[in-house]
C-alpha cells in the first residue's frame, strides 16, 4: 500500500569479529557444562573404570602392566572421548541453539572449532591431568608417564576434532551413539598407534622428539581440515530437520 513511503532500514555491513564470536561460543559451552557438573565427571569416571578392568581382567602383574599400561590408558582415553562426543552437538540440536549457530554471520567452521575446543577442555584435558595417577597405578616409570601425558596432550585434541565430524554426521539419527563409534574408531587408529608407539620408544630409551613432532603434524592437519568437514556435516544434518 504505502510501502514506498516507509523508510528502508540500513543494512549492516559490520559484523562481530570472528574471534569474539568464537569466544562467545566457547564461553557458553563452558558455562553450560559447569551448570551440569555430573556430565563432566562421567567420562573421567569411565576412564578410571576401564583402566581398572585390565588388571582385574587380564593380569595384575607388574611386568604386564608396565608393558601394556600406555596402551591401556590410551584406549581408555579414546573410549571416554568417544563416549562424550554424542553430547557435543546433541543438546544444541535439540534446543535450537545449533540453528542459531549456523545462521551466525561468521564462518561456521571457526565457530565449530570453538565448540570443539570447548569439548576438549571439558573432556580431553581432564583426562590428561588424571593420567599421571593412573600411570602410577599401572606401574609406568616416570619418564614414560611424562611422555604419555605429552602424547595425550597432543592426541586428545585430535580425537575431539575427528570426533566432531562423526558427531555432526550422526546428529538427529536413531542410535547415533553406536553409529558414531563405528564411523570414528577407524579414523582414530593412526593417533592411537603413534600415541602408544611413542611411549613404547620412550620406555626403550629411544628419542621421541620426531614422533611427537609427527603427532603435532596430525594435530595441525586435524585442526585445519576437521572443522570444515564438521561444518559441512552440520549443515547437512540441519537441512534435514
Amino acid at each position: 500500500m504505502n510501502a514506498d513511503f516507509r523508510p528502508a532500514l540500513v543494512l549492516r555491513h559490520d559484523a562481530v569479529g570472528v574471534l569474539s564470536a568464537m569466544r562467545g561460543v566457547f564461553a557458553r559451552d563452558l558455562r553450560v557444562a559447569f551448570r551440569q557438573r555430573q556430565d563432566l565427571l562421567n567420562p573421567l569416571l569411565f576412564f578410571v573404570m576401564v583402566v581398572t578392568l585390565f588388571p582385574l581382567g587380564v593380569s595384575p602383574e607388574v611386568s604386564f602392566l608396565r608393558e601394556a599400561g600406555a596402551g591401556i590408558l590410551w584406549v581408555a582415553a579414546l573410549l571416554s572421548v568417544l563416549l562424550s562426543l554424542d553430547h557435543l552437538f546433541r543438546h544444541d540440536f535439540d534446543d535450537g541453539t545449533l540453528e542459531q549457530l549456523v545462521l551466525q554471520p561468521q564462518p561456521l567452521f571457526l565457530l565449530v572449532l570453538a565448540k570443539t575446543m570447548a569439548h576438549w577442555v571439558l573432556t580431553g584435558l581432564p583426562l590428561v591431568i588424571l593420567t599421571p595417577v593412573l600411570g602410577v597405578m599401572v606401574h609406568l616409570d616416570g619418564n614414560s608417564i611424562g611422555v604419555l601425558c605429552l602424547t595425550l596432550l597432543i592426541g586428545t585434541p585430535v580425537l575431539s576434532l575427528i570426533g566432531s565430524i562423526g558427531a555432526a554426521l550422526t546428529l538427529g539419527l536413531r542410535s547415533a551413539g553406536v553409529l558414531l563409534s563405528l564411523l570414528i574408531i577407524p579414523l582414530y587408529i593412526p593417533v592411537l598407534i603413534f600415541g602408544t608407539g611413542t611411549v613404547a620408544s620412550a620406555a626403550e630409551g629411544a628419542p621421541v622428539g620426531a614422533y611427537l613432532a609427527l603427532m603435532g603434524a596430525f594435530l595441525v592437519l586435524a585442526l585445519t581440515l576437521a572443522p570444515f568437514a564438521s561444518a559441512a556435516a552440520l549443515r547437512i544434518s540441519l537441512s534435514n530437520g
Binding site: A8, L9, V32, G96, E99, Q100
Partner: protein, 209 residues
C-alpha cells in the same frame, strides 16, 4: 517503489518424494508483514527454513537485493533474524545469559539493555532464574526478547505465537506492526488468525500431491 529485500522465483521443494510446493514466487518488500499460511504438513516451516538458509533441498532462485543469495550469504546472515520452533534457549542458563549468548555473535549489547528487553517481554524478576525453571511460555518469551533489540531488517519467525497468552499475542501483533512501520520486514508462519493492515499472504496448498 523500494527494492525487495528478498525475492523468491519459482521455488520448488520436494520432501520424502512428495512435492510440497512448486512455482512459488513472491517478494518481501521493506516495511511489510508477510504471513505464510497453510494446513499442517503444507511446508510452512520448511519454506521459512529455506528462506533462512537452513534447508537447502530446494530448487529455484532466491535473490537478496536482486543478487543471488548464495553469493552474498554472509551479508544475508548479518541482516536476517530467524526464530525457529526451537528458539535456541539453553535450559541450564538464565534468561539473561541466554540473551547474552544469542546476541554475542550478532550485536553485543550491554546488560542493562538486555534486562530491559527481558522486562519488556514480562520476564522482569526472572532474569537470573535458570530457564528450565520457567514455563514454556516464559521460555518462549526469552527468545522473543530478541525482537525488542534486534536491528536486522528481515525477521523470519516460525510460530511466534505458540505458548503465548492472549495479552502477549496482541502485544506481539503490535510489535510486528510497529516494526513494519519502521521499515523492517517480517515473515511469520502462524495458525493464529493474524490480521494486520497491508499484510501480504503466502498461501501454501494442502498436503496432497
Amino acid at each position: 517503489m523500494s527494492e525487495p529485500l528478498l525475492q523468491a522465483i519459482d521455488l520448488q521443494c520436494e520432501r520424502d518424494e512428495r512435492i510440497l510446493f512448486r512455482d512459488l514466487s513472491f517478494s518481501i518488500l521493506p516495511g511489510t508483514v508477510t504471513r505464510v499460511e497453510g494446513p499442517n504438513g503444507s511446508g510452512k516451516t520448511t519454506l521459512l527454513r529455506m528462506l533462512a538458509g537452513l534447508n537447502d533441498a530446494w530448487s529455484g532462485d532466491l535473490l537478496w537485493f536482486g543478487k543471488p543469495r548464495s553469493a552474498h550469504r554472509e551479508e544475508f546472515l548479518r541482516n536476517t533474524l530467524y526464530l525457529g520452533h526451537r528458539a535456541g534457549i539453553k535450559p541450564l542458563l538464565t534468561p539473561l545469559e541466554n540473551l547474552q549468548a544469542l546476541t554475542a555473535g550478532r550485536r553485543p549489547l550491554p546488560d542493562p539493555v538486555l534486562r530491559q528487553a527481558l522486562g519488556g517481554t514480562g520476564l522482569a524478576g526472572f532474569e537470573d532464574v535458570p530457564c528450565r525453571n520457567l514455563s514454556a511460555g516464559q521460555q518462549r518469551r526469552v527468545a522473543l526478547a530478541r525482537l525488542l533489540i534486534a536491528d536486522e531488517p528481515l525477521w523470519l519467525l516460525d510460530e511466534v505465537f505458540t505458548a503465548i497468552d492472549a495479552g502477549g499475542v496482541s502485544a506481539i501483533e503490535n510489535l510486528l506492526q510497529q516494526r513494519a512501520a519502521e521499515g523492517g520486514s517480517v515473515v511469520v508462519t502462524t495458525h493464529h488468525d493474524l490480521r494486520l493492515p497491508g499484510m501480504q499472504r503466502i498461501i501454501l496448498g494442502g498436503g496432497s500431491d
